[in-house]
Amino acid sequence: MITDWLHPGLLYFLGAALIPLLFRTRAEGRIRQLCLLLIPLLAILCVCFMLMNAPSEGSFWHAHFIGLELILGHVDKLSLLFALVFTVMSLIGMIYALHLKANGEHVATYLYIGSALGVVFAGDYFTLFVFWEIMAFASAYLVFAQATKAAREAGFRYLLVHISGGLCLLAGIVILYTETGPALFGPINTTGPAFWLILVGFILNAAVPPLNAWLTDAYPEATITGAVFMSAFTTKTAIYVLLRAYPGTEVLVWLGAVMAVYGVVYATMENDCRRLLAYHIVSQVGFMVAGVGLGSAMSLNGAGALALTNIIYKGLLFMAAGAVIYMTGCRKLTEMGGLYRCMPLTMTLYMIGAVSISAFPLFSGFVSKPMILAAAQHDHQAIVFLVLTLASCGTFLSVGLKLPYYMFFGKPGDSTSNKHNADNSLEPPLNMLIAMSFAALLCIIIGVFPNLLYAILPYPVDFEPYTASHITGSLNLLMFTALGFFLLLKYIVPKNTISLDSDWFYRRGARLFSWFAHHPVARYEAMVSEFANTVLLRALYACAALGLWIDTHVIDGAVNGIAKTIIRSAEKIRHLETGVLSHYALGMCLGIVLSVAVYFGLGDIGFNLMTGKD
C-alpha cells in the first residue's frame, strides 16, 4: 500500500473541487445524485476500514511548511469515533439535501465536512487552526445561501464572531509555540495566557454562554438543509478538541452545567421552531462540556458517546423541523398546529428524535447521556448532578413536549387552516423521508444495542444502562415533567416574541457605539472645527496677509534696492574706462607694485604664521 490509509477529508475536498466541474448548476439526473452520495459512502468505508485495522492508529501524513512540521493524520480511537459519526451524518444529510439543484451549497457542505474531518485528524495546533478557519467560512456560506436580508445579516454576525474566536485561538497557538516550540495537539501543559486564549477559542465554537449567540442567531436563518449540517459539525468538533486538549479542566464542569440549563430555559421561551432546537444544542453541548470537565474515563466516554448520539438525533430533529418549514413555509410555533393529520410520518420521525434526546429507554439518548450523570454521581458532585437532571427535564419539556405539541397538535394555526386542507397529505419529498428514517433507525439501533456504541468509545466502558431502577427512574422523571407541562400549559403558550440573548451586545450595543460616534464624538468634532474655522483660520489669514505685506514691501524693496545700487555702481565703474592708454599703464604699474608688496610682505607673515615661527 502506498499510504497506510486515505484521509477521509480529502475525499470531500476532491468532491468540492469536482462537483462544479462535472455538473452544470441546473443539471438534473441520477448520475449527479449518485456522485453526491458516493463521496460520503467512500468516506464511511474508509473510516470503517481504519476502525477494523487497529494497527492503523498512530500519526501519518507529515508535511513541512514554513519550518513547522504539520501532521495531517493523527489517528486514535477518539478521532475515529468522531470521524465515523461525521461521515455517517454527512451521508444522512446528503440524502436529505439530494433535491437541491444549486451546486454552491453542495460545495460549501463538502468543504465544511472535509475541514471538520481535518480538525478531527489534525496532529498539531497549526493544522488544526487552518481547518478550523475553513470550517467557519464554509459553514457561513450555508447561512448566506438562504439569501434573505435576515440571513445575510445573521451570516455577517456569524463570521464576525467566528473570526474573533479564530484570532483568539491563533494568538494562543502563537504564544504556545513561542513558549514550548511547535506542539503536538494534546493536553496543554502551560497555565499562562496560551492556555486561556486557546480555551476561549475552543469554547466559543462550543457555544458556551455568553459566547453562544452566534449559534442561535445564525442556525435558524440558514437554509433548511444547511442547518442540518451545521447542527452536527461545529459544536461537536469543539467538543472533540476540548476532549483532546482540556480533559479534566474544572472550570468546564461549571460552564457546562450553566450551559445545560441556559439552553433549555431559552428553548422553552422560544417561538421559532429551529431556534428552539438551536438553543437546545447549547444545552446538549453543556452536558458534553461538563463531561469533559469531570475528566474521569466514564465522563470522557460519556461526552464522546453523547456527541455521537446527539449528532444523529439532533440532525433528525433539524431535518423534521426543516421538512415542516419546507412544506408549510411557516417557521413559528404560533403559525403551526394540528399538523399531525397531514404529516403523520414526519411527526413520528420527529418524535423518535425527541424521545431519543430526552433519554427514553430503548432510544440512543438513554445509553449515552446517563454516563455523564453517573460520572457526576461517582465524583459526589451533587450540584452538578442536580443541575444536569434539571436540564434533562427541560430537554423533554422543550423538545419533547412544547415543540411537538404546538407544531403537530394543538389548535390548527394559520399554516394549516389557510393554505392547506387539514386532511391533505403534506409529507415531504421521498429523499427527506429516507434520510429521516435512516437517522431514526440509527437512534433505535444504538438504543437497543448500546454495546455497538460502547465498543468504539476511547476508554473501556464500565456502565450498564439497562438496570431496573435506571429504567423506571428515567421514565418517572420524564413523565412527571409531562404532567407539569400539561398542568401549566397555558403559561407557556408561544407568543410572537423573540428572546434577547448575548447578541444584544453587538446588535443593540453596536448601535450604542454608533450613537456614541454620532453624538458625543461628532459634537466634539464639530466644536473643534468651529474653533478652527473661527479662531485658528482667522489668525492664519492675518498671518498670511502680514506675510504678503512683508513680502511686497520689505523683501521686494530690499531686492529692488540692491539691484538699483548695483546698476548705479556699474554706471560709476563705466566712467573709469576712459580709453586713454596712459591711464591703463598707470593702473597696471600700480597693480604690479601691489602684487610684489603683498608677495614679500604679507607672504612672509603668512609663512611664519603657517610654520608657527615668530
Binding site: E153, V264, V265, T268, M269, G338, Y340, R341, Q377, H378, H380, A382, F385, T389, L390, C393, G394, L397, F409, T467, A468, S469, T472, G473, S474, L475, N476, L477, L478, M479, F480, T481, A482, L483, G484, F485, F486, L488, Y491, I492, K495, N496, T497, I498, S499, L500, R507, R508, R511
Partner: protein, 99 residues
C-alpha cells in the same frame, strides 16, 4: 368501499380523541393511569433492589425521580416566565428591525 370506510372511520375517531375537547377528561384519565402504573413499578423496583449504590441523600426518598421531574418542570416554567416577562428578555419581533 367497505375497506376504505374502515380505516377512515378509525382515523376520524383517533383524531377526535386527540383533538376534541369532549375527550379531554378521557385523555387525562389515560394519562393519570399511565403515571400511576409507572410510579407503582418504580416503587416496586426500589423495594426489590437494595440501595447500596445510592450516593446522594435524596436517592433514599421513594419515588424521588417522579417528584424531581414534576418540581423541576414547574421550576423551569417559572424561571422562563420570570425572565421573559419580568426581566424583559421577551421582546416584540421587530425589536432589531430599525437597525
Amino acid at each position: 368501499m367497505m375497506s376504505k370506510t374502515g380505516p377512515n372511520k378509525r382515523k376520524q375517531k383517533l383524531t377526535e380523541f386527540i383533538d376534541s375537547p369532549d375527550y379531554s377528561r378521557r385523555r387525562w384519565q389515560w394519562f393519570i393511569a399511565v403515571l400511576m402504573t409507572m410510579v407503582a413499578f418504580d416503587l416496586l423496583v426500589e423495594f426489590l433492589v437494595d440501595k447500596e449504590h445510592a450516593v446522594f441523600a435524596w436517592e433514599q426518598l421513594p419515588g424521588w425521580t417522579a417528584l424531581f421531574g414534576f418540581l423541576f418542570c414547574l421550576l423551569i416554567i417559572f424561571v422562563v416566565r420570570f425572565l421573559g416577562y419580568f426581566c424583559g428578555l421577551k421582546q416584540g419581533e421587530d425589536y432589531y428591525d430599525d437597525e
